[in-house]
């Protein structure tokens, strides 16, 4: 009896240890979480977007959630998000290239210190960062930003209450947090530029600016595409940069983002079907913009490396 179960145990062990079975056991946690935490909710998001969901009763209502999405409020959210994406992309793609190129040049002393200082903001939680920015850009004359403006002879600004300054706050917060990370991406890529190229450019008498545009930039192209892609996607996902300034309700929706609208409708007002419809629209927008951007930067071309 004991012998038999031992033999059975052995067979089970052998089966579990065979090279055919082991990889499946090792990847099983991923398969389970993929099905439960990605595949199911992805399908469910589409289904929910056609439903009215009330506790205990759920009914299909066709396209009416999508019809409701085409409202002035969503348009405001879309407009805010799009401007935010454009501004953060312009700043967070280009400025780090310049900083990385300068940091990489021999002219810069204490480069390690500069890198570390640029990087530290990315460690701060968005809530802590938001707290500090709220206090720096407070509406009183005594808050730091207004003090600087008054010192230069300007008028104090009610930062959190005007549409342009609201956008400024969100963009500056995001730029401050992610600048250092993007600088690191570019610095890593700059290590791969063959130094001979700069030497031969020197022999040809190229200026620093020419070297930057004709040697550095072309070599950074793959990483520029990468940084652009993640900046655009993260921009369309924006929520917290607005939440830290106005929670979920900014005056006149000046800080409303698409994901913020989804949170407000889906979670706070418990209208999950409508929230899901907003989510689907956001996904479609991200998808279209990413394709256009990747096509534009030539990422689909083969053998470009």
């Amino acid at each position: 009896m004991a012998n038999q179960s031992n033999a059975q145990n052995n067979r089970v062990m052998k089966f579990l240890n065979s090279k055919k079975v082991v990889p499946y056991i090792l990847v099983s946690p991923f398969i389970v979480t993929f099905i439960v935490l990605t595949l199911y909710p992805a399908i469910q998001a589409f289904i929910m977007s056609f439903q009215r969901i009330l506790p205990g009763q759920t009914e299909f209502i066709g396209l009416s959630n999508y019809r409701r999405v085409l409202s002035p409020t969503f348009y405001t959210a879309f407009q805010n998000t799009t401007i935010y994406v454009i501004l953060t992309t312009l700043i967070l793609v280009t400025v780090p290239i310049l900083l990385a190129a300068l940091l990489n040049s021999k002219a810069t002393k204490y480069s390690t210190f500069y890198r570390a200082s640029l990087f530290i903001p990315s460690l701060a939680s968005i809530i802590v960062a938001g707290t500090v920015f709220r206090l720096i850009f407070g509406e009183t004359d005594t808050a730091l930003a207004n003090q600087v403006i008054t010192w230069f002879g300007g008028e104090p600004i009610q930062w959190q209450y005007q549409s342009w300054s609201a956008m400024f706050l969100m963009v500056i917060l995001s730029s401050w947090r992610w600048m250092g990370v993007n600088v690191m991406y570019y610095l890593a890529a700059l290590q791969n530029v063959p130094p001979e190229l700069y030497e031969s450019a020197d022999i040809d008498g190229a200026s620093t600016v020419q070297k930057f545009f004709y040697v550095t930039i072309p070599h950074l192209k793959p990483i520029i595409t990468f940084v652009t892609t993640i900046t655009i996607i993260n921009g369309f996902r924006m929520f917290e940069e607005s939440y830290v300034f106005w929670e979920a309700n900014s005056p006149g929706n000046i800080g409303l983002s698409m994901v913020g609208y989804m949170y407000d409708q889906g979670v706070q007002r418990n209208d999950m079907g409508f929230g899901a419809a907003i989510g689907v629209i956001v996904l479609i927008i991200i998808f279209i913009v990413s394709i256009i951007q990747l096509k534009f930067t030539g990422a689909f071309k083969r053998g470009d490396e």
Binding site: F30, P121, L123, V132, T140, A143, Q147, M184, M262
Partner: protein, 279 residues
């Protein structure tokens, strides 16, 4: 002449970077300085240049250490959740990444494609269905519910796979001849070789868990389950009656991270820039 020009160029670049570094650090420095100011003054003035240096004191810290048990409850929650997330996600993600790299099996490419796919779907889209699912499963207001979406992280799976591709597979054959099981090979031989990748991923996962906000905001209902970001955000009201905890609490939240960064800079940078690893 040429030498003089290059000297001024150097000087200019270094001055520029001193200014940039100062601006980057300014919010952190001003947070630190403000934490010693009376909270009523801070609330009235905001972060300001007119600092009353003589009026600085440790009151905010005294208050948080003696009269704010809820803050320490949040701190505890964040520590437990972050610790468990790091251990579990590194364990599972390394297993998956390793299997994808060293074994040749049916469906391997499909699974790798799924990893890439999850990387591209924004979490926010899945958020509402997941929220509803977690309500149905009674996972609201539990540590497990907060952690679950981070436990098998596609970015970590991807990173571990890239790293494991470079492992010497000859060692595996030698170990098999010595009678080691496949699991023994992974845990005793390969995992130690993957240690540098574990450090970078521990930092990435730890930081995303420590700073995670939107998902915990949805899933947590009661004050004593709050994580630090959700708890601090609850104090961020226009009425500003909690600025003492908010400001000293913010410092105590980010200071350990900055100290860890200074100690382990290299791993932080590779952890946070992992998306750029080449295939």
């Amino acid at each position: 002449m040429e030498k003089q020009r290059s000297f001024f160029k150097k000087l200019f670049i270094n001055i520029l970077f001193v200014i940039i570094s100062f601006l980057a650090l300014l919010p952190i420095i001003s947070l630190l300085v403000s934490s010693f100011r009376p909270s009523s003054e801070l609330m009235r003035q905001g972060i300001s240049l007119d600092i009353n240096w003589a009026g600085m004191n440790l009151d905010n810290y005294e208050f948080i250490f003696t009269q704010a048990p809820e803050y320490w409850q949040w701190y505890m929650n964040s520590l437990i959740i972050t610790g468990l997330t790091i251990v579990l996600s590194l364990f599972f993600s390394s297993m998956v990444g390793y299997a994808l790299a060293v074994y040749d099996f049916k469906g391997r490419n499909v699974i790798f494609l799924m990893v890439i796919m999850i990387l591209m779907i924004p979490f926010e889209i899945l958020m509402l269905p997941l929220y509803q699912l977690f309500i149905d499963l009674n996972l609201i207001d539990t540590y497990f519910g907060i952690m679950l979406p981070l436990i098998v992280a596609p970015i970590a799976v991807f990173f571990f796979r890239q790293y494991a591709l470079g492992l010497p597979t000859e060692l595996m054959d030698a170990a098999r001849i010595d009678g080691s099981t496949e699991y023994g090979i992974f845990f005793k031989i390969m995992m130690p070789l993957m240690l540098p990748s574990f450090a970078a991923m521990a930092i990435l996962q730890g930081l995303s868990s420590w700073n995670n906000f939107l998902w915990p905001l949805l899933i947590i209902r009661s004050n004593d389950m709050f994580t630090l970001p959700v708890g601090l955000a609850s104090l961020l009201t226009p009425y500003g009656n909690n600025y003492d905890i908010l400001i000293s609490g913010s410092v105590i939240t980010i200071l350990p991270i900055i100290l860890l960064f200074i100690a382990f800079q290299k791993y932080f940078v590779s952890g946070l820039t992992v998306g750029g690893v080449k295939g």
